[in-house]
């Protein structure tokens, strides 16, 4: 049984259909990435799954339990790490943790034990008594994640946990999520950083304009746009003669052109590139620029939606 099953969920704000018939599931122990640009409906979807927002239609089950904003049982199974630093900055890290532990129904002594455990996990034990306002951005981010772990959730939902974080902290956050998933926690991870999704997620759903556009493992998605690398070359004057020369090259599978730009498909662009450039130079074609695109989620996204993720 999947830990989370979302079926035909929709949500509308006035005229804006924020989420439109979204369905997906997360298996026990799986890390699922929900990928999409800002405004694609990620946060609304997350809001409904965390039980913050009511949905207009559809169903959500958590560990088989029908989930809703009032179902405390299903809410107890979920750990939530919001995008903002949702912390009481005037209180200490320990105060923050103990407070939310109590809200998740831990007894006083359980809350105390769990707090120290989480502090250890996120590496804040030595600063636990300090007000959060004294924390660096990275430390606050770590505490933000730690708060999601208090109830030992079956499903951890991380909503863009690395936004505005320096590369070093980001790495350590990704590391700790990885550690968690190895421990068997199922994770729903939203991001608009492609490389994070590629690094962490078992399966990825691409959401855009409130709809899931594609879903699958990275390999499955990439295969949708083809296995080949793409080389884009802009020439001074691409004549039919130049294209023929390129077509004749053995590693090149396909050649097409549009205006001054020539598009080549090849199974391995790195190996083929010296040959291509050499051939073009000899043919006397003036090269203005060369770009290599390896098939990744970015390319998948681009081919699905016609726009970049960060636009």
């Amino acid at each position: 049984m999947p830990i989370l099953e979302v079926r035909g969920v929709s949500k509308r704000y006035g005229k804006n259909q924020a989420v439109d018939d979204v369905s997906f599931f997360i298996e026990e122990g799986e890390t699922y990435g929900l990928l999409g640009p800002n405004g694609a409906g990620k946060s609304t979807t997350i809001g409904m799954i965390t039980g913050i927002l009511e949905r207009d239609s559809g169903s959500i089950t958590v560990d088989g339990i029908e989930h809703s904003v009032t179902n405390r049982k299903s809410k107890s199974l979920i750990g939530f790490v919001p995008q903002e630093l949702a912390l009481y900055h005037d209180l200490s890290a320990r105060d923050n943790l103990r407070f939310f532990a109590r809200l998740y129904g831990l007894s006083k002594s359980e809350a105390r034990t769990k707090t120290e455990e989480v502090l250890e996990t996120v590496g804040l034990s030595d600063r636990a008594g300090e007000a959060v306002s004294q924390f660096s951005g990275g430390m606050a981010r770590r505490l933000n994640i730690g708060l999601g772990l208090l109830n030992s959730p079956r499903l951890l939902i991380l909503d863009e946990p690395t936004v505005g974080v320096d590369p070093q902290s980001r790495n350590s956050i990704l590391e700790s999520v990885h550690t968690l998933t190895r421990g068997g926690v199922s994770v729903l991870y939203t991001t608009h950083y492609m490389e994070e999704a590629e690094r962490l997620c078992d399966r990825v759903g691409i959401i855009e304009a409130g709809k899931i556009r594609a879903e699958g493992t990275q390999r499955e998605l990439v295969s949708q746009v083809g296995e080949d690398d793409t080389v884009l070359i802009t020439l001074d004057a691409p004549g039919e003669r130049v294209l023929d020369v390129l077509r004749a090259l053995e590693p090149i599978d396909e050649v097409s052109s549009e205006g001054t730009q020539v598009r080549l498909l090849t199974s391995n662009a790195r190996d083929a590139l010296p040959l291509i450039l050499d051939t073009l130079t000899r043919a006397g074609a003036g090269i203005r620029s060369v770009e290599v695109q390896e098939p990744d989620l970015e390319a998948v996204f681009l081919s699905l939606t016609g726009k970049g993720l960060r636009e």
Binding site: S76, Q83, L87
Partner: protein, 397 residues
């Protein structure tokens, strides 16, 4: 099947967290303790603990009269009043001395009986009694004049009877007869005094201690109620909503924090002002009931108003204005008499009912606080209902 964790425990956790936050940011200390104590102290210092702002007026008399009439004035008109304790009387030897006393504010007015007081009267001339009043004590001066006039009229009553009794010069026999009658006549008006009415009014120390405490409870409660907007802006509200706690419990918890903080403030202030300023809050049970229902009213009103605001700043601005207006119209800053035009408006404020309840309580009897308590409780419940009704809007985006 267990329905998740215990809601009451969660509310308690939120309340404890809120109180801790208010302690940390100092708002509890400043608005809950320092400001009300400071302002109550200031009032107390300015006004003293006399319920009356005036004490009995003080007069000085200089009797330079060679004859006996001056002495009669002092003995018949002034001395009885002084003996009753309604005025303070001193004597001076010279006019200059008396004038000096008036000048430097030692007394409110001086009666100057001239040397020829008796003589002038006996010669059929006007005898002049001079009142020298302090320009800063117009009421006392005016009263002094009236004392003099009353003496003059009474003294001349018999002559007046003769003078107004006949249109033309009467025969000595007739005049003598009337004179006798007039002398024998009893004064037609007697004034009895009932000076035993109870005090249903708070002394200054108590009034300002209580009114300031209540006035500032608004500000202490404000921070609790508006913190829901801060939580929304800071993202922690999302966390609260995602946690297994019923939605209504979040608002209930916020209101409870305000109530706890307000009650603690009032309790501390009641004790502190009793000890330091000699305030008398009356029967602890009655005062306790008034405080409990009074703070409930404040929380209810605060929550109702806040529920229409969009942000913490907006709520705080509105609530500051509300607290100020209710304070002014409810008599928290200066006592509103029932005679004042504001009196009707004042009954719309919790301040008025709270202070009225304490005033009634000061005269004894617990049942007198029932009506004020009921009104305050009703205000609180109405406000809370409005807030709960609009809670969805406060909690959701």
């Amino acid at each position: 099947m267990s329905n998740g964790p215990n809601t009451l425990t969660m509310i308690a956790a939120i309340v404890a967290k809120d109180v801790r936050q208010r302690l940390r940011d100092g708002s509890l200390l400043v608005f809950g303790l320092l400001l009300p104590l400071g302002v109550a102290f200031f009032f107390n210092m300015l006004l003293g603990d006399d319920t009356s702002r005036q004490t009995g007026s003080e007069y000085v008399v200089v009797d330079s009269d060679a004859g006996s009439l001056g002495q009669e004035f002092v003995d018949a008109a002034l001395r009885p009043l002084a003996d009753d304790g309604v005025l303070e009387l001193t004597t001076a030897d010279t006019e200059d001395e008396a004038r000096a006393l008036v000048e430097d504010g030692g007394v409110d007015a001086a009666f100057l009986v001239p040397e020829d007081f008796t003589e002038s009267l006996e010669n059929g001339d006007d005898a002049v009694l001079t009142v020298v009043g302090d320009a800063d004590a117009p009421v006392a001066t005016h009263i002094a004049r009236e004392i003099g006039r009353a003496f003059a009229t009474e003294h001349l009553r018999i002559r007046l009877a003769v003078a107004s009794g006949f249109d033309s010069e009467p025969s000595p026999e007739d005049a003598a007869l009337l004179l006798e009658e007039a002398e024998a006549a009893e004064a037609p008006l007697v004034l009895s005094e009932d000076a035993d009415l109870e005090w249903r009014e708070l002394g200054n120390a108590t009034y300002y201690s209580a009114s300031m405490a209540f006035f500032f409870v608004f500000f202490a409660a404000m921070f609790s109620v508006t913190s829901i907007f801060d939580e929304k802006a800071g993202g922690t509200l999302a966390r609260l909503l995602a946690s297994p706690i019923p939605r209504g419990a979040i608002l209930i918890a916020k209101l409870t924090s305000g109530l706890v903080i307000g009650l603690a403030n009032m309790a501390v202030l009641a004790v502190a002002t009793s000890v330091f300023f000699g305030a008398d809050w009356g029967d602890p049970l009655g005062a306790g009931a008034l405080i409990l229902t009074g703070v409930t009213a404040v929380i209810g009103l605060t929550a109702a108003v806040a529920s229409f605001a969009r942000s913490s700043e907006q709520a705080a601005n509105w609530l500051s204005v509300l607290a100020m207006l209710l304070g002014v119209f409810g008599g928290a800053l200066f006592p509103i008499s029932q005679l004042n035009g504001l009196a009707i408006v004042s009954y719309l404020t919790p301040h008025r009912w709270f202070l009225l309840g304490l005033g009634e309580l000061s005269a004894g009897g617990l049942d007198v606080v029932l009506l004020p308590c009921a009104v305050l409780l009703a205000l609180g419940l109405v406000g809370t209902t409005v807030a709960l009704f609009r809670m969805g809007r406060m909690v959701n985006a």
